[in-house]
Symmetry: D2
Amino acid sequence: MLHFECDYLEGCHENIMHALIESNTEQTSGYGEDEFCARAKKLILDECKKDGAVVHFLVGGTQTNMTVIASLLKPYQGVLSAESGHINVHETGAIESTGHKVLALPGNHGKISASQVRAAMEGHKMDAAHEHIVQPGMVYISNPTECGTIYNRKELQELRSVCKEYDLPLFMDGARLGYALTAKDNDLTLEEIAACCDVFYIGGTKTGALFGEAVVITDKKYQKDFRYYIKQKGGMLAKGRLLGIQFETLFTDGLYLKIAGEAINKAELIKKILEEKGCQFLYPPQSNQLFPFIPDRWLQILQKNFVFEPWGVKKDDTTAVRICTSALTSQKNFDALCTALNELQQVL
Amino acid sequence: MLHFECDYLEGCHENIMHALIESNTEQTSGYGEDEFCARAKKLILDECKKDGAVVHFLVGGTQTNMTVIASLLKPYQGVLSAESGHINVHETGAIESTGHKVLALPGNHGKISASQVRAAMEGHKMDAAHEHIVQPGMVYISNPTECGTIYNRKELQELRSVCKEYDLPLFMDGARLGYALTAKDNDLTLEEIAACCDVFYIGGTKTGALFGEAVVITDKKYQKDFRYYIKQKGGMLAKGRLLGIQFETLFTDGLYLKIAGEAINKAELIKKILEEKGCQFLYPPQSNQLFPFIPDRWLQILQKNFVFEPWGVKKDDTTAVRICTSALTSQKNFDALCTALNELQQVL
Amino acid sequence: MLHFECDYLEGCHENIMHALIESNTEQTSGYGEDEFCARAKKLILDECKKDGAVVHFLVGGTQTNMTVIASLLKPYQGVLSAESGHINVHETGAIESTGHKVLALPGNHGKISASQVRAAMEGHKMDAAHEHIVQPGMVYISNPTECGTIYNRKELQELRSVCKEYDLPLFMDGARLGYALTAKDNDLTLEEIAACCDVFYIGGTKTGALFGEAVVITDKKYQKDFRYYIKQKGGMLAKGRLLGIQFETLFTDGLYLKIAGEAINKAELIKKILEEKGCQFLYPPQSNQLFPFIPDRWLQILQKNFVFEPWGVKKDDTTAVRICTSALTSQKNFDALCTALNELQQVL
Amino acid sequence: MLHFECDYLEGCHENIMHALIESNTEQTSGYGEDEFCARAKKLILDECKKDGAVVHFLVGGTQTNMTVIASLLKPYQGVLSAESGHINVHETGAIESTGHKVLALPGNHGKISASQVRAAMEGHKMDAAHEHIVQPGMVYISNPTECGTIYNRKELQELRSVCKEYDLPLFMDGARLGYALTAKDNDLTLEEIAACCDVFYIGGTKTGALFGEAVVITDKKYQKDFRYYIKQKGGMLAKGRLLGIQFETLFTDGLYLKIAGEAINKAELIKKILEEKGCQFLYPPQSNQLFPFIPDRWLQILQKNFVFEPWGVKKDDTTAVRICTSALTSQKNFDALCTALNELQQVL
């Protein structure tokens, strides 16, 4: 079977594997206080171009979300998020386990807007009983979202602006950030994201690394003692250098955006074939995750050789599935999928 | 000003005050291990007629909700509740502060149904990623609800049945239970509630007491070490006898239901006047909390002498407000309100 | 039986009972936003003479400790406390339930010193692995302590000074504060306590009230949104005026210190009799809690009529017990105890 | 510099690296539901020989400790541990962050005994105020301990016995388990550990893996829904196969014990040289961590080429340091250290 159901199916990019092999017997300090991490941080900060920003490396996304959010909120505060936000639906209550409510806002294909944030803040302030209600204390977005959509510059700057007005930290979950930055519709740079977000992370796990998320904290007031949080939440890797080695590789010679871009190109081609065949999409297809409605008779054929993720929505005789490409999708698998799709009979 | 905005405006029923005066210099053990508490518990259990049930006294509703829910759930579980549930919207995230997500279901005027619970359980079970999702671990209802509506016997028995099927504890917030039990539409008895719910509480604060909620745990498997929870969550009153004295009084000679019934009678009369005048209601008026749409020109007149609670909903030239009666509403205030309402000009 | 085992055996002082009776039918806003609370706060602040301080009322001690401490600490911080501190041993882990470690220091009869705080802070800072260790984030003391001892001015000012140096909030648990302020050895005033502590509370429960603790937050930086904490932790009383009524009474015409002083006088006399009889004390007898070693043959006689609390320590043929007086100890009970003690045969 | 300060200085054993390289482009399911994990679990269970046991893989030790302990305790319970236990001193309050108190017992060079557990349980039960005290709910030990000492069969069986008597789960932190099992003084087998402990883990991070801890839950009653805990606490690795690949390698052809045993042999030789030179040890030298008192004049010489971890204790003109060997300590570094030690002048 050839797998396209998610973007964490393989090991890592060959450059990362080489770096791991090469460094294997070298001795370094533990817990991320090594030269690999130092160099990787510098490379990332060079691209963020945000004075005073700092970088921390964590192992996975849920861990990163809970650690960052726990560090930003006071105990009586909650986090504004799209209803479909990963923290709201796919982390087994990790945020609540740290004592905080996720304040879910209806998403527009996974995105929330500045005006929704403003309405939430004004609504809270105006409520006579506001002390009986969880206070919105920060904004969580992901880019791309769980629906594969991306934020554009205008949307992000408006969020930045409303967050500043209400003194709310803005946190971007970038578990798939590479695929947002290389999406065809994208008009944002890493530098602009660093300028807009108080905290964001650059996902490695789904973009060529074995694992790893690089958290960038741009605002000094959220930087203090962050390593205590990492340790307490169980995210401090003993052999922290593994994160440094991987991110140093990803941020050398533009590898990160290069391989993310290749995945986007593959996704664009799949999208184009599906569109030409007459498929509709559950969400606007913008990044490496596509959510087409596939005719059930096609699925019967395709599922003999390919794995997609069923997405729980049916329409007429079609079923929405998730099809992902990633930085590690092989040309061979991709070609096989294109061929198979091309051979399918057009939707009427 | 005469106040009708809520049902915790005055001190306590005169019988309670007498009991407090009489017992004042008596010496008793602390923390609820006194004779007053023992007698009060017996009186309550006599009415519940549920073998093996136990009673604990706590001070207030939010405290009770968080203590009970924390005792019933495993760390990765959440509590199913109506969106409008007190635990979801008016407890500053107390439930989340104990690590649990409130799993909100759309309410039918504050009520949730057995079929919603079933759907939530089946949906969770069927989701391939269910380990990444908070597991529904119990059901929270309130009776009356935050909307003043009540559960009937059929609804409660169906909830009982579905909870049993999925091994979910059923917890009823009875902060205003007296007003449910004496409501005109009610067909439930305390005994039936004790038979259906694993845990429920009989609210004192809003029904004639200075404060106090009597938690009844009917199922043995949820009884173990409950006093540890009370103490840890800050709910163990040093002079616990104050709770015993109050509940002993309320459950002597049927005082609790008698005074709740008087409040219901008052609410019924107010409702009748408003209906006759042509008012509509935001929620079906069933208990001591009424949510009429009051014409704005009436409000201008009424608000010179009466306080209602604005409920944040407008329709045409009317505004929804909350009008409450309680076990302590004086005849004088009630008469004044009736007179004032009767004098208003009919809605066209 | 006449009870001396603790200081929360009776109801309340008669002045408080009168105030409750008088106000009983009056209508007020809920949740402490009433005129009784406003007046009580003013009376307390007038005595504290600390510009910018604010007062909040909570129901009980454990609740107050967990609420205050949760509001002062960051998630990775712990609270320095004497090993015998109430938060460390008698709150069923309430502090830990909010996510924080109690960092226990060996106590000197329940007291900790500025030099211990300094050593803890320096030790933490110097440890190369300090990010792997809970960071001390505040200091908790109680006055009187669990051992009945009191802090003098010099000790408190030194704690104030070291806390300021390390930017640690200093929190005094004053569940029995009246008995410290009226102790014979005391050289502190309420004003000085307000000047030294960032947060402290004036206990009502054990000093003549039915219940209630008045939290004074002197430093502005710890005042923000404190009512959210109270609500979330379950401590916001619906009929909050009950707290206002009680503290208004206690702080009218110096009642609080007057009745605390009467309890101290009784304790002093009991202590004097015991000392004259040759008894030794487990801890220096300084306030309303005495911990004498009572000869076992005396106990056999006394326990026919009197209840003391066994304290789990034996020495030769004596047993340490706790004997408490309180603001509500009756003259009759006190006289009976004195007579009984005087009749005992001197220790050899 | 040659490093001996800890046992997580290098990457991984060459066999693991080969397995990672070989599997790198293979596609597998995420979150540990892959064939590598399945095979690794089977290999581990084959050695544990405990019917009904299950295995889960987590990334690191602190994460594992907090996840396991949170799954075993009720909210009002705490965990009995040696004062020097990793959970008590080196996890930034991770256990407390899940709401639980660590109930520290004085350790005997890091070990606690059955009689201490019994005394804690009896003391709790006998205390009249036990509901006000954290209830001991489980026992945590580590083997080897933080002091490098190991439990023998008799000690472990006694712990097993007392835990069974009080219905306490027994949890062994085996972050360095390989070094206990291959220690010269050891008389325990993996099978016996599985028979005695309700939960234990086999550490990979410090024994040749890049990272990874294999948790074995032997008792069925603690197995339910464990993956929910892993996910919620942030420990579920997306590319979970990395853990499977590593443990499959470690448990193929006895590699785990073989390489642990080599580290023990190296430690034994270092210990022998130091003993012959007259060094004393802070703790009995039993496993791969040695805590010798090194004369300060030696340290001046050694620290030019070698790194040890200062351990904060001085005696006469010596300083206690930690010297570790590990499964990845190279022969070259080891020989260099031996040579350097042998060249030092004997302690008088």
